[in-house]
Every structure is written in C-alpha cells, then in structure tokens.
C-alpha cells in the first residue's frame, strides 16, 4: 500500500517537473493565441481568454509560409536521401568487421562529426562558389548538410547493425546467396527499424537547419522556414504573437512525429550516441 502511495507521489512530482521544463513550449502555443494587446498585458494571462484562432491562417498567408515549409521539406528530404544511400552501407561494413582499418574509419567519422557548422561554412561557401555550386543553392545546402550529419547517422545505424546476429547472414551465404543478396534480403530488413528511426532523426535536424541555408541561399523564394523565421524576427520586433504562430506551425509537425515515435527515437539515440 505504501509502495503505490510512493509511486503516485513520484508520478506527481515528475509531472510537475515536466510541466516546468516544457513551459517554454506551452508559452509559445499560448502567446500565438493572444491578441496584440493581451500579449503585452501585465500580469500576463497564463490561459488565453480570447483565443485568436484565425492568426494561423493570417501568418501562413502574410509570411508566405507554404513556400518556406516546402523548401525546408525539399532540403530535409534531399539530405536524408543522400545520407541514407551513402551511410547505410558504410555503417554496415563498420559494424561487421573489427580491425585497425575499421578503427581508423570510425575515428575519422567521429572527428568529422564534431566540426561546428558555423565554422565550416566559410570554406564551404568559398569552395562552393568556386566550383559553381552556388548556382544551385538548395542542392549546395543539401550536400553541406549531408556531409555534416552523415557521421551521426553512421554511428546510430552502426549500433543497429551490431545487434543483427552475424550468423543469419552467414547462413544465407552458405545457402548460396551472394554478398549483395544477403545484404539486401537478410541484413537490411532486420535493421530496417533502426535505419528508419535514424533517418527520421536526421530529417528533423535537417528540417530545422539554419547556418548553411542562411549563408548559402540568397534568393528569398528558395529559403527554408528557419531562415524565414529569422528574417521575421527583426531587432525591435513586437509582433510576438505572429512570430509564435509561425513557430507553432513550423514545429508542431516535428513535435507530433517525435511524440508518436518517442520510445523508438529515444532508444535509437541512446544505443548509438554513447556506445
């Protein structure tokens, strides 16, 4: 009896902690629904008395958000495609063998993973301008993001491949499968979930990417939503309800995916990131 009481108490404390931690998110949703004057009221209302639901449509129209979100999706999908096509095989080989070469490869990949984007953008920008890639700014951003995020993907997917028993693949080889055949019909299907979760994580990162897009894409009609949000926030802005409505439209799909797949994402992340 005392045990269940204790558990209930712990759950209550945990809910309070989560509420405090997630307050900024709540504040975004609430501010978006406030009218211009309610937003600057003192004391601020912690519950919208007069929710302005039409604000989402207004912001969507006035900021041309459809175009921004579309560009974000194009860039994120492009980056995920490049990363998955190239990264899965790399992760597989690095998981399958254990020798000096694999150690060197892993070390290289971990080192390339840590380079901050805001420091790498200078040489990438100058280099891209010299080879003419800046003519295709979204492609340039996709390539830059792919190079930045692929190491993380490889580390995560490698952990997935490590958990696929090697005996299964060997059995397929004994039964007359070629290496390619065994890879596509045995190993890949078994690792499918892990690859999918890692790809979703990469998608979410690329969907919110800012430094490369801001620096490389000059044409406003090709910019993603993060750059659009940045240009919305001038230094002396007071349109906070509109900005929060923009942010709401931008992040709600990501948050929905995350909450739905939370268990898988967390376990995928923890198995790869520290091991």
């Amino acid at each position: 009896m005392s045990d269940t009481y204790r558990e209930k108490l712990m759950l209550a404390i945990a809910l309070v902690l989560a509420a405090i931690y997630l307050f900024p998110l709540y504040w975004m949703y609430i501010t978006a629904l406030k009218s211009g004057s309610a937003m600057f009221a003192t004391p601020p209302a912690f519950w919208p008395t007069d929710p302005q639901w039409q604000i989402y449509g207004q912001v969507w129209e006035s900021r041309n958000m459809g175009r921004y979100i579309w560009n974000s999706v194009v860039i994120a999908l492009g980056a995920v495609t490049v990363i998955t096509v190239l990264g899965v095989g790399c992760a597989y080989v690095l998981a399958r063998y254990r020798n000096v070469w694999v150690d060197i490869g892993l070390f290289l990949i971990l080192m390339l993973q840590v380079l901050p984007a805001s420091l790498m953008i200078t040489p990438i920008f100058v280099g891209f301008s010299q080879v003419g890639l800046l003519e295709y700014p979204r492609l340039a951003v996709i390539l830059a993001i792919a190079a930045k995020s692929m190491p993380f993907f490889v580390v995560l997917v490698r952990a997935t491949f490590m958990s696929v028993p090697q005996e299964l693949e060997e059995a397929a080889l004994v039964d007359g499968n070629s290496r390619i055949g065994a890879f596509f019909s045995i190993v890949l299907p078994l690792a499918r979930n892990g690859i999918l979760v890692s790809a979703i994580l990469i998608f979410m990162q690329a969907f919110g990417e800012f430094v490369y897009s801001k620096s490389i894409i000059q044409a406003i009609e090709l910019q993603p939503a993060s750059v659009g949000l940045n240009s919305f926030m001038g230094p002396n802005t007071n349109e906070w309800n509109n900005i929060m409505a923009y942010a709401t439209i931008y992040v709600t799909p990501i948050l929905a995916i995350f909450v739905l797949l939370q268990r898988r994402i967390v376990s995928g992340l923890t198995s790869g990131a520290l091991k």
Binding site: L17, L22, G87, P123, Q130, M150, F210
Partner: protein, 300 residues
C-alpha cells in the same frame, strides 16, 4: 575486369565499395574544406580574389591582426564562460533529473523521453521562444522573478551587456539538459543493482551509496558526456542568431558566431577562416577526449 565485378557483388570488393563511396564523399565535403580553411587563414582574401585558389600568401599576418583587435580577448573569454556555464548547468540539472527518473514509477520512461522535445526542436525556434520569454518589459521570466521577489526591477536580458551572454546560456541550458539527462539515464541503468543491495546490507546510507557507487561507476559516462557537451556547445549558433546576434557591442559574442559574422556580415573571409581554424583545433582536442573515453564501448 570480371574478377573485379564478381568481387564487388560477392567478396571483399563489396565491403570496400560500400565504405569507399561515403568516405570519399565525406573527405570531399568535410575534409577538403577543412584543409582549405587552413590555407585561407594564411592568405589575403578579398571579394576580388574570392574566385581564385592561389591568393597572395601572407604567413601569420591574419593571426597577428586578429589578436591585435580589441574585441578578440573578450570574445574568447565569452566563449569560455558560455561553454563552462552551459555544460555545468546542463550536466547538473540533467544529472538531478536522471537520478529522479531512475526510481521506477509508472510512466517514468515515457515522461523522461518527453523531455527530449527541447532537443529535437529547431534551434532557431528555441531561440525565438526564449527571446520572447526573456524580453525586458513584457517577458514572462521577469514577471515570475518579480512576483517571487527575486528582483525588484526588470532585467533587460537581451540588451544589458551584463546579462546578454547569460540570456543565451539560459536558453542553451534548457536546450541541452534533456540530452544530458537521457544519456546519464542510460549510464545509471547500466549499474548492476546488487552493488546497492550489498552496500545497503553493509549499512551505507543513500548519500554514501551515491558517492561510493553511483559516481565512480558513472565515471566514463560522465567523461564522455562532458566532452560531448563541449562539442555541442561549441556548435551552438542558432541561439545566438535568434536571441542577441552577439550584441550589444559584442558582449554576448562567442567565437563560433564571430567567425560567421566575420565572413558573412563583414565579408572578411580570411579572418573568418582564421577564427575557424583556432576553434576547430579546440573542438578536435575535445573530440579526441570523447573518442578515447568511449573507445572500450566502441569496440563492444
């Protein structure tokens, strides 16, 4: 030719092809820019020579000029403060939360995972939200602090040079705490439970158990996490762009923002490259610590 082909479909060549392609891609798009960065930091780069590879070579001139600028040392100091304060905050709060959620109760792991939303959100959105929360006259943080009697007048978080760096630190601690908590939870759950049973039989209290079992057993996780925290905080750019833009008067500027500002606001690509090179050396050192501390697990 036939042998090469059959090796690719069914042999060593298959593995080599799978690894060589992505590694070549990475070396081309990460390794090469890295070297190019070092080259540019020794060159004179202006808008006219941007298109050529062989520009006038100036030796260490860029480095010398950089350290002659009055803002260089304060910005390096800001970076040190930002990194130390962010890591300390993220780690301590994250560890506290991880210890709390370690005690099993229904819904613990689901609630714990929910915290991670701060980490999957785009950095710019996090920055926008905190920009509004930290706003001087109408920010909700000032309101809460006033109501609880901690401050009497409003703090102008973003425009007061004494607080602007801390505004970004607060946002960054919020952003990174959940990640620290999740990884520390993994470390905690790996500690064998019978150690605690044995200690309890020997009469150790909770405090002694924490210091003699939990902390020593977590040593490698903590080391890896702090190195990882250093890497992540040095990557933090979006929050600066969204909250203070490095201002006012560089009071919240850090090297990773400054390098970008040099290149893309002041079009001084050589200086931008020079700052990048200096910082990348730091990041590389941190990542060597990280790789070493996880090596036995990598080999798993």
């Amino acid at each position: 030719m036939k042998r090469v082909l059959s090796s690719i479909t069914d042999g060593r060549g298959f593995d080599i092809a799978l690894v060589a392609l992505p590694l070549a891609f990475l070396l081309l798009l990460s390794g090469l820019p890295l070297l190019y960065n070092v080259l540019m930091s020794f060159q004179e780069v202006d808008m006219f020579s941007l298109g050529t590879l062989w520009r006038p070579f100036v030796g260490f001139e860029n480095y010398r000029k950089l350290f002659e600028q009055p803002e260089t040392l304060p910005i390096l100091g800001n970076t040190a403060i930002f990194v130390t304060a962010s890591i300390a905050g993220q780690f301590l709060i994250g560890f506290g939360l991880a210890l709390f959620f370690w005690t099993n109760f229904p819904g613990a792991s689901w609630l714990r995972g929910l915290f991670l939303v701060s980490w999957v959100m785009p950095g710019l959105v996090v920055g926008a939200i905190w920009n509004w929360i930290l706003s001087g006259d109408f920010g909700v943080l000032n309101f809460l602090l006033r109501e609880s009697g901690l401050i009497s007048g409003n703090i102008f978080w973003r425009s007061d040079p004494n607080y602007s760096l801390w505004a970004v630190v607060i946002a960054n601690v919020w952003l990174g705490t959940s990640f620290n908590m999740i990884l520390l939870s993994v470390g905690l759950s790996a500690i064998p439970g019978d150690l605690y049973e044995a200690a309890e039989l020997d009469g150790a209290n909770a405090w002694q158990r924490f210091w003699t079992i939990t902390l020593p057993m977590m040593r490698s996780s903590i080391g890896a996490l702090i190195a990882l925290g250093l890497i992540f905080t040095l990557q933090q750019f979006d929050l600066f762009a969204a909250i203070t833009s490095g201002g006012p008067n560089n009071s919240s500027n850090v090297t990773q923002y400054w390098a970008w500002d040099m290149s893309f606001r002041q079009y001084d690509f050589a200086k931008g490259a020079t700052i990048s090179v200096i910082m990348i050396v730091f990041v590389m050192l941190a990542s060597i610590v990280y790789v070493r501390s996880t090596r036995h697990e990598v080999r798993g």
